[in-house]
Amino acid sequence: MGTKHNLRILGAVAAAGLALSACGSTTSSSASAGSSSNCTSGQNLAFLGATTGDYGALGQNMVGGIKLALDDYNTKNPDCKVGVKVFDSQGDPDKATPLATQIVGDSSIVGLVGPGFSGESLATGKTFEAAGLPVISPSATNVTITQQGWTTWHRVIGNDSAQGAAAASYILGTVKSTKPFVIDDGSDYGKGLASYVKKGLGSKFDSANSDTVQTGQTDFSATVTKVTASKADAVFYGGYYAEAGLLVKQLRQAGYKGLFMSGDGSEDPAFVKAAGAQAANGAILTAPAGPAPADFDSKYQSVNNSPSGLYSTQAYDAANIFLAGLDAGKSSHADMNTFVGAYSGDGVSGPIAFDKFGDIKESVIFAYTVKNGKLDTANPTPIS
């Protein structure tokens, strides 16, 4: 029976420890104070997205890409180093909103790489627009984001309509499927992509040959039964790698022999691991990005101590656009935004130029095949 006093203190400490949950960090890898030079020092890029929580892996891939770009830039410009301020929203639009206010209030931030998810983009776009801060997202693919009339929002990744159409024409043209089956995971990204595939398949697609699963689901026996019963010869899965891998594994185990195709959300080494090498072989993954140069991953690893993954190359390209703007002397939000809008160049994920809505103009879609237990990232086939 300790003294009430001690218990009260302990209780207060525990309560203090308590709500150290929800929402994440701002780690500021700050810029060093530049010496006399013709550039402003202490500038930062911002990243808004999920770096912790269940979707943290994707956000960390993106932060890694930004850090790689900054590492290159800071080595070349030791007098005006640029840092990155990471704002972890855990992919939650509610948490993203106050973070957006914080970002626009921070005058050292010249541009935002992000948001990571479409939900956060829709919740925060108005704030960035009102403040005039230029935004380049490496991964938010929902089509409606660029239909909001925002002039500061851009993305370096092709939106779902281009990818879906390309996948559909591949299924009908190259594979010559007569009975395609489309599955999605109910998420904004997966459902969106699948709906464009269905649209592209047109009359060849029978709406009975579709199903929706849930993210986090691990047993797909009902869906697998549906596929085998329908005698489908091609399956397209709109969703992410964890479910895709388990789904293709269970499909193969049930005797399905047709094509398995998925989108860029499945392009992660964990897809092959979850499927088991044999089941993954022959799977085709589409992506609106060409193969990264061979040394990208090794350079990434040397800066970040972990392998690159989904969206690392897009984040790298997005950061480089802002850095090119700084090189060109653009410092105000309005100038930088004009620079970004007019930018045209080649990134590691492909050629980059933005149309007037903020979408990437040219979006060549590539198909990557899993061969011999590995995703063949060196030889994709352009399919659009």
Binding site: A14, L18, C23, T26, T52, P93, L122, K126
Partner: protein
């Protein structure tokens, strides 16, 4: 060991002193986002936005406190009511109709209340522990239905939800916003300075400034607190107390326990719906199903228990802390859920009655301590 004594402050006995303190406290609460006090202000995220989250959670906790604290019903699916309020608002103001927000707000509250009654009627007949899993199930059902239904926006969510109506012109980002502008206070060390670069317009609900939303939420919270006080002191509150302490005895004494439990459920739902509606018309104007996960229900329950179930001030403190601490200590983000779990275990072990336990628990604990002192040894509960 001495029996713990109540703190005696003679001047607190004066009613006008108490009124002054309460008035001062309320004024301070309103001024907080403008004052931006040094240690308290969150640096990683906008302080105004964090205050909005704190007040939202506090409001939710007050509602959940009625269910868990007053009526003794363990509800693990409270997020369902939060979602119902938010989505009713979203559907009626943006997705399928464009009714004004002030009209939709009471409708959302009413719809959520009806949902509470519909959910409560079958589930409250079920035994205490089962109530937990059934309410959890209902919370998930609501979320999954929203996720799977295109009419409700599905996973894409509902956007462009209008904010509450503003007073004065909305010339965002300029000096002509609102009726008048209030500058913030910036601190250099311990010296306050008037910061004319950051001003809050009165009263414009725009996209750049969270402070007016905070003021609105605070006002709503105060109104709900008054209502809560009135209900608790009435026979309804007494019926809840009787039901919670010993349901069979209450029934025997003629209290229609089922009806009162259902009323608690409905009122809790109404407040949850109110908070959800304010969330929908918040600064972002966007809602989607991922904001309403089971984890949030757990967080709300933890907020009420940590704050002190049965005490409305405890609920407010619990809700505010649960929203504030993660934002204040953002640097520890990777570890936050682990710290949350460990802290939960620690708190219920060390201070199971919560930070601000209700008067009856304090009385019971005091009585227990007195008995232990008399008996000279620890007494089993």
């Amino acid at each position: 060991m001495n029996t713990p004594r109540r703190i005696e402050l003679p001047w607190l006995r004066l009613r006008w002193v108490r009124m002054l303190m309460i008035g001062g406290g309320i004024l301070l609460a309103y001024a907080l986002p403008l004052l931006r006090p040094p240690v308290l202000t969150t640096t990683g995220s906008d302080f105004g936005g964090v205050l909005v989250a704190m007040t939202s959670y506090a409001l939710v906790a007050v509602g959940l406190n009625i269910v868990i604290g007053y009526a003794g019903l363990l509800d693990l699916g409270y997020v369902g009511f939060y979602a119902t309020g938010a989505y009713t608002t979203g559907v009626l103001t943006s997705e399928h109709a464009h009714w004004p927000f002030l009209l939709v707000l009471p409708i959302a509250v009413a719809v959520t209340m009806v949902t509470g009654v519909i959910l409560g009627a079958p589930t409250l007949r079920v035994r205490g522990d089962y109530l937990a899993i059934v309410t959890l199930g209902f919370g998930e059902i609501i979320r999954i239905v929203i996720l799977n239904t295109g009419w409700l926006g599905a996973s894409a969510g509902i956007k462009d939800i209008p904010s509450p109506p503003s007073l004065g012109p909305d010339k965002v980002g300029t000096d002509q916003d609102g009726l008048f502008q209030i500058p913030h206070i910036a601190w250099r060390g311990l010296t306050p300075l008037i910061d004319n670069e950051h001003k809050t317009p009165f009263l414009v609900f725009g996209v750049l400034d969270a402070v007016p939303y905070y003021w609105l939420l605070l006002t709503v919270l105060l109104i709900v607190l008054v209502a809560d006080y009135l209900i608790k002191e009435s026979r309804v509150g007494r019926a809840w107390e009787a039901t919670r302490e010993d349901e069979d005895a209450a029934e025997v004494m003629g209290v229609p326990t089922f009806r009162y439990k259902l009323l608690a459920f409905a009122l809790g739902a109404a407040i949850g719906g109110l908070a959800g509606s304010m969330l929908a018309s918040g600064q972002g104007g966007y809602i989607n199903p991922n904001s309403f996960l089971i984890l949030l229900s757990m967080l709300f329950v933890a907020a009420v228990i940590i704050g002190g179930a049965g005490n409305r001030w405890g609920a407010i403190v619990g809700g505010a802390l649960v929203a504030y601490l993660p934002e204040r200590f953002r640097a520890l983000s990777d570890w936050r859920l682990l710290i949350f779990g460990l802290a939960l275990m620690l708190i219920v072990n060390v201070r199971p009655q919560g930070l601000l336990p209700p008067r009856r628990t304090r009385r019971a604990l005091r009585a227990k301590a007195e008995i232990e002192e008399l008996e000279g040894e620890a007494v089993d509960a």
